[in-house]
C-alpha cells in the first residue's frame, strides 16, 4: 500500500468514526470491517458520503453510489482513490 493510499484510509476512518458515532480503539474499524454491521444506516451513509466528498473535494462517480462501495474502509478508499488518481 502506498503512502497516499494509507493517507486516504486514515482520513476515511476519521470520517467513518465521526459519522457512525463509533467508540472504538485507535486504528479501528479495520479496513475490512463491515460498516453496515457496525450500525451504518442509509442516512448515516448519506452523511458519510457527503463528508467524504467535501473532505477530498471530489465527486464520486454515480455508479459508485451504492451499498457495496460503503461496505468498509478499503472499498470507500478505493472509490476515493479512483477519483483522485
Amino acid at each position: 500500500m502506498t503512502i497516499a493510499q494509507q493517507t486516504t484510509v486514515a482520513a476515511v476512518r476519521t470520517l467513518v468514526v465521526q459519522h457512525l458515532n463509533l467508540a472504538l480503539p485507535e486504528g479501528r474499524p479495520a479496513e475490512d470491517d463491515d460498516l453496515w454491521k457496525l450500525g451504518m444506516t442509509s442516512l448515516s451513509c448519506l452523511g458519510l458520503m457527503l463528508a467524504i466528498e467535501d473532505e477530498f473535494d471530489i465527486e464520486l462517480a454515480q455508479d459508485a453510489l451504492k451499498e457495496a462501495t460503503f461496505q468498509n474502509l478499503a472499498t470507500i478508499s478505493a472509490a476515493v482513490d479512483a477519483v483522485l488518481n
Binding site: 442509509s42 442516512l43 448519506l46
Partner: protein, 495 residues
C-alpha cells in the same frame, strides 16, 4: 395506422420551431403553433415513447379530485391548482376538434364523471384529502354530490375494503391518453407539422443562443427556437448545451399501471378512485376507448429514467385493484403493462419558461397532470414563442429559486403522515404492542435526521424527502443543490 410518426425520405434540415419531446406537451404545443401560423414546426421524439409519462398516463381530467390538504394552503400551491382549473376548461373544445382523428372513431372522452370513494383500508390521509376535495369544490362553486357506493357502476370491492362514503364529481371525467396522442399526431400530420421518430443527442448553440439540435444518428436540424418538452429527460437534454445550467432539479417519478380486458361483471362507466394517497397517487380505474380498463398507479422516484417495474408494484396494483375496486378484476386479462416517468421537480412546481440562451425554452416538471394541463400550457408557450403575452403566472420560471410552501417541521409531519398512509395501505404488519404513534416516531426520526445531516432549512415534500433519504444518488443531488442555495449553511449541521 395512419397516424404513426413518419420518417420522411428527406428530413428537414431547418425549422422555425424545433420541439424536443413528443408527449402531450410537445404535441399540443405543435398544434398551437401550427394553428397560429408560426412557421415550420418539427417535433422530435421516439415513436414508442417508451419511458414517457404521456403514453402511460391515466389521463383523468381531474383537478378537484386531485386536491390534497396542500393544494390551497399556500398562494403558490393555489396558483398551481388554478392552472389545472383553467386547463380543464379547454378540454371540451380540444376533444371536439380531435375527435375526427380518433382511432376507430371511438370517443376520446371515455368517462364523463368521477366517483371518489373513501374506504377503510386507507389511512387518515384519505379522510384529510377527501375533506380537501370537498372544501375545494365548495370554495370554487363546482358541483358535487354524495352518493351511495353501491350505486357506482362497476364498483364491486371486497367486503373488508368496502367504501364507507363516496362523492360524485359530474364535471371531471377522463380521456384515453393513448387515443388522444394518436389523434393529435394525425391532426399534426394533416396540418403539415413534421414528426420525426428520433431522439436528440445534443442541442446546438453557443454561449448566447441555441441554434438547433443534432439527432442520435447525426442529422442536424437548425432552428431559431427550440422547446425542450422531454419530460423527465429534459434536464439531461438541456445540459448538452448548458452543462452548468442552474435549474430546479427534476427527478423521474416512475409509475406503473396496467390495462385489462374485462371478462365478466359490470364495466366501470366513470373514473372510480380514492383520494390521493401516500406519496401522491391514489388507486384508480379509468375506462378506455376500446372497452378495456386502466388500473393505476404507482409512483417511485428513481435515479434514472427507465421502464422497469418491480414485483412489489405489480403486487400492489393488482391486489388492491381486486380488493378495493372490483373483485372480479382477478380474472381480467392484462393486455398491456405501462411504465412511465413523471417529471417531478424538487419544489413540486412546473418548469415553464425561457432559459439563459436566446431561443431556448423549457416546458416540463408537470408531475402528475402534464396531460391534463397540456392544452393550456401549450397555448401559453405558443404565445410566448411569438412574443405575445403569456397566459399563466410567471412563478414557474425554470431557473427560479425553489418555491417554498412549508416549514421543516411541517415537512417532517407531512412525511410521517404519508409514510403512515403507505404503511397501512400496503397492509404492512406490526407487532401488536407497536402502536401507530411508535411507527410515526420512527418516520419522524428518519426525517429529522435527514435535515440534520444535510443542514438545510428548505423544506421538502414527502416524495422528495423519501427519495433523498433512501438513495445515495438522490440524496447527494438534493443535498448539493440545497447547499448551493444557502452557502452560508454549507458544512453546518451534523456533517
Amino acid at each position: 395506422m395512419s397516424a404513426t410518426i413518419e420518417k420522411p425520405d428527406v428530413r428537414p434540415a431547418q425549422a422555425d420551431v424545433l420541439i424536443v419531446g413528443n408527449g402531450a406537451l410537445g404535441l399540443f404545443l405543435a398544434r398551437e403553433l401550427s394553428a397560429a401560423g408560426a412557421g415550420s414546426v418539427v417535433v422530435v421524439g421516439p415513436a414508442d415513447r417508451s419511458s414517457g409519462g404521456s403514453q402511460a398516463a391515466g389521463a383523468m381530467m381531474g383537478c378537484f379530485a386531485e386536491a390534497t390538504s396542500e393544494s390551497l394552503r399556500t398562494q403558490p400551491a393555489r396558483t398551481r391548482f388554478e392552472l389545472g382549473v383553467a386547463a380543464h376548461e379547454r378540454w371540451p373544445a380540444v376533444l371536439a376538434a380531435l375527435q375526427e382523428h380518433a382511432p376507430g372513431g371511438r370517443p376520446l372522452l371515455t368517462a364523463p364523471e368521477t366517483h371518489v370513494v373513501l374506504n377503510s383500508i386507507g389511512a387518515e390521509l384519505d379522510n384529510v384529502n377527501l375533506a380537501a376535495i370537498i372544501n375545494a369544490l365548495t370554495e370554487y362553486g363546482k358541483p358535487w354530490q354524495e352518493c351511495d357506493p353501491h350505486d357506482i357502476p362497476g364498483f364491486n370491492p371486497r367486503t373488508d375494503t368496502r367504501a364507507l362514503r363516496a362523492i360524485l364529481l359530474p364535471e371531471e371525467g377522463a380521456v384515453d391518453a393513448r387515443a388522444v396522442l394518436t389523434a393529435l399526431q394525425a391532426d399534426l400530420l394533416a396540418s403539415g407539422v413534421t414528426l420525426l421518430d428520433a431522439s436528440v443527442r445534443t442541442l446546438l448553440g453557443d454561449s448566447d443562443s441555441v441554434t438547433g439540435a443534432e439527432l442520435d444518428d447525426g442529422h442536424v436540424i437548425e432552428a431559431g427556437k427550440v422547446v425542450v418538452a422531454a419530460g423527465a429527460l429534459s434536464e439531461s437534454v438541456l445540459k448538452t448545451l448548458i452543462p452548468d445550467l442552474d435549474l430546479v432539479p427534476t427527478f423521474a417519478g416512475l409509475g406503473f399501471a396496467m390495462i385489462a380486458r374485462r371478462t365478466g361483471g359490470e364495466p366501470f362507466r366513470s373514473v372510480v378512485r380514492t383520494p390521493n394517497r401516500g406519496f401522491a397517487c391514489g388507486l384508480h380505474v379509468v375506462p378506455q376507448a376500446d372497452g378495456t380498463e386502466y388500473y393505476g398507479a404507482t409512483n417511485r422516484l428513481v435515479d434514472e429514467v427507465g421502464s422497469t417495474t418491480w414485483m412489489a408494484d405489480v403486487r400492489f396494483l393488482a391486489q388492491y385493484s381486486m380488493q378495493q375496486l372490483d373483485e372480479r378484476a382477478a380474472s381480467h386479462e392484462v393486455v398491456r403493462w405501462l411504465a412511465g416517468n413523471r417529471p417531478v421537480t424538487l419544489d413540486g412546481f412546473p418548469l415553464i419558461g425561457w432559459l439563459p440562451r436566446a431561443g431556448l425554452y423549457l416546458m416540463s416538471g408537470t408531475y402528475r397532470d402534464g396531460f391534463h394541463c397540456a392544452p393550456l400550457l401549450a397555448a401559453h408557450v405558443a404565445n410566448e414563442l411569438q412574443g405575445k403575452p403569456g397566459l399563466i403566472d410567471p412563478i414557474f420560471q425554470p431557473t427560479r429559486r425553489p418555491v417554498a410552501t412549508r416549514t421543516v417541521e411541517g415537512s417532517i409531519q407531512e412525511y410521517v403522515e404519508h409514510n403512515l398512509a403507505g404503511w397501512f395501505e400496503t397492509g404492512a404488519q406490526a407487532a401488536p404492542q407497536l402502536t401507530t404513534r411508535q411507527i410515526a416516531d420512527y418516520y419522524r426520526n428518519m426525517a429529522t435526521q435527514f435535515y440534520e445531516r444535510v443542514g438545510t432549512d428548505y423544506a421538502l415534500g414527502p416524495d422528495i424527502l423519501w427519495y433523498a433519504q433512501g438513495s445515495l444518488v438522490g440524496g447527494r443531488r438534493v443535498a448539493r443543490y440545497l447547499r448551493r442555495l444557502q452557502p452560508a449553511a454549507a458544512g453546518t449541521g451534523a456533517l
